[in-house]
């Protein structure tokens, strides 16, 4: 019941509720990763786990916002989150060409077998995942975020990112968008 209440709040866009969820499962997920997967208990290893945990939260939020939480009827919130996490961990080890111990998740009663759909267009989702993966590079990601999300002007971005001229910003923006388009 507590899970349902929390999910209903998150569905309505309540960020405090989402933070409660974030706070509740961060430590357990960290422990789960260190215990069951080949993450090292070093700052780098913990950073990777944290990145995966952030992805879990983001994906969970998308599912909530887009009414894609039917699967939860079969499992607890924790199992659901950890199932998302397991998929992400699998991808992490695949992408980094690392071997995981591939331990089973805590409860075998519920496993998300496929990457859930989050109510976004495929292209949009690819863009999100590309940016999240860092494959576009930090300068491009920052520039595009400043321009399209923050709504900053070209001169403002020039100041923020230390470009020599406004034109250099415009040129870089065009190149970044082209690169992004090519990647999707």
């Amino acid at each position: 019941m507590a899970d349902e209440l929390l999910i209903n709040k998150i569905k309505k866009g309540d960020k405090n509720a989402l933070y409660e969820l974030y706070k509740s499962y961060k430590e357990p997920f960290l422990m789960y990763c260190l215990k069951n997967h080949s993450f090292s208990n070093t700052p780098e290893g913990l950073h990777d786990v944290e990145t995966i945990y952030h992805d879990i939260i983001v994906k969970f939020r998308r599912n909530c916002m887009n009414g894609k939480l039917n699967e939860l009827e079969k499992a607890s919130l924790k199992t659901y989150l950890f199932s998302i996490g397991n998929n992400l961990i699998k991808n992490y080890f695949r992408d980094n060409k690392l071997a995981s111990q591939n331990m089973p998740i805590e409860s075998n009663s519920f496993i998300i077998s496929e990457e859930p759909q989050y109510g976004y267009d495929d292209t949009t989702l690819k863009v999100i995942n590309l940016l999240r993966s860092g494959k576009l590079g930090e300068p491009c990601t920052k520039l595009l975020t400043y321009f399209f999300y923050e709504g900053l002007s070209i001169p403002e971005i020039q100041d923020l990112l230390n470009f020599p001229t406004a034109n250099a910003v415009s040129q870089r923006k065009i190149r970044c968008l082209s690169k992004l388009r090519a990647m999707i």
Binding site: K15, L18, Y19, Y22, K23, K26, E50, H54, I57, V58, R61, R62, Y120, D121, T123, T124, L125, K126, V127, I128, L130, L131, R132, L144, T145, F148, Y149, E150, I174, L177, L180, R181, I184
Partner: protein, 252 residues
């Protein structure tokens, strides 16, 4: 302005109403332009969604780390306070229960008599170890010879004497030269040892020992009035006093 710039201007709502109308008219007929708008819209949506999500998790991380730091600080402060409190408790315990609870030998007797005498202040707790320091400090005071009313009353009280008990020395107010040994001697029928306690005229314990029947106190006492008491395990049996005189050179 090339096509992509035009599309971006349209998607970012930077066109004038007339430009916008003209552009939307063109969209109806230009399929490739419409595709370009669609693709760019999805890309911009993706960037915005990514940035929105990134902002949320960043703020969560910041808040979480802040709370963790605060919790650590609180734990640290608590541990420090607890450590200081424990230290204080331990120190107090040492002072009160180790030093303080060591009853002054005359306390048993005094407590029984005091009901009648109503003393002005209790016997100050002390130890043999602090004796010398106390004596040195007392030496600077001029009232080393003044009488302690509470003890004086006890001397004059009828104490419970044992059959055949007799004090041989020192007699009441007997005077000794500074540095002379003070011989404590008594007679009694019992064989158990008595506790001999010497008090300063401030009521502080100078010496405490279990003695069979006589004892020669050879430590140097500073000049002044002293009280002495004999006690069994249960009760005091005698209280007397003696005087250690000022050395001649000091007297001058």
């Amino acid at each position: 302005m090339d096509k992509s710039e035009l599309v971006e201007k349209y998607l970012l709502n930077q066109m004038t109403p007339s430009e916008r109308m003209a552009f939307e008219d063109r969209l109806k007929t230009d399929r490739s332009l419409a595709d370009e708008v669609d693709l760019n819209k999805k890309i911009i949506d993706g960037i915005r969604q990514y940035a929105d999500e990134e902002r949320i998790v960043s703020s969560f991380k910041e808040q979480y780390d802040g709370e963790q730091t605060q919790a650590r600080v609180r734990r640290l402060v608590f541990i420090r306070i607890a450590a200081v409190a424990l230290l204080l408790i331990a120190s107090t315990w040492l002072l009160v229960f180790y030093f303080g609870s060591k009853k002054a030998p005359g306390e048993k007797y005094i407590s029984k008599q005091e009901k009648k005498l109503q003393p002005t202040h209790p016997v100050s707790p002390s130890t043999k170890d602090s004796t010398n320091k106390n004596l040195i400090a007392a030496n600077n005071k001029l009232d080393n010879f003044s009488e302690l009313a509470r003890f004086e009353a006890l001397i004059n009280q009828e104490y419970r004497s044992e059959e055949g008990f007799e004090v041989i020395s020192p007699k009441n107010t007997q005077k000794y030269k500074a540095g002379d040994p003070i011989v404590f001697r008594w007679q009694r029928q019992g064989t158990d040892q008595l506790n001999l306690v010497i008090f300063s005229n401030k009521g502080k314990v100078v010496s405490e020992q279990k003695i069979p029947s006589s004892f020669s106190y050879k430590k140097i006492l500073i000049p002044g009035l002293y009280y002495w008491q004999l006690e069994t395990e249960e009760d005091a049996v005698f209280m007397g006093k003696f005087i250690v005189q000022q050395p001649v050179s000091n007297a001058k």
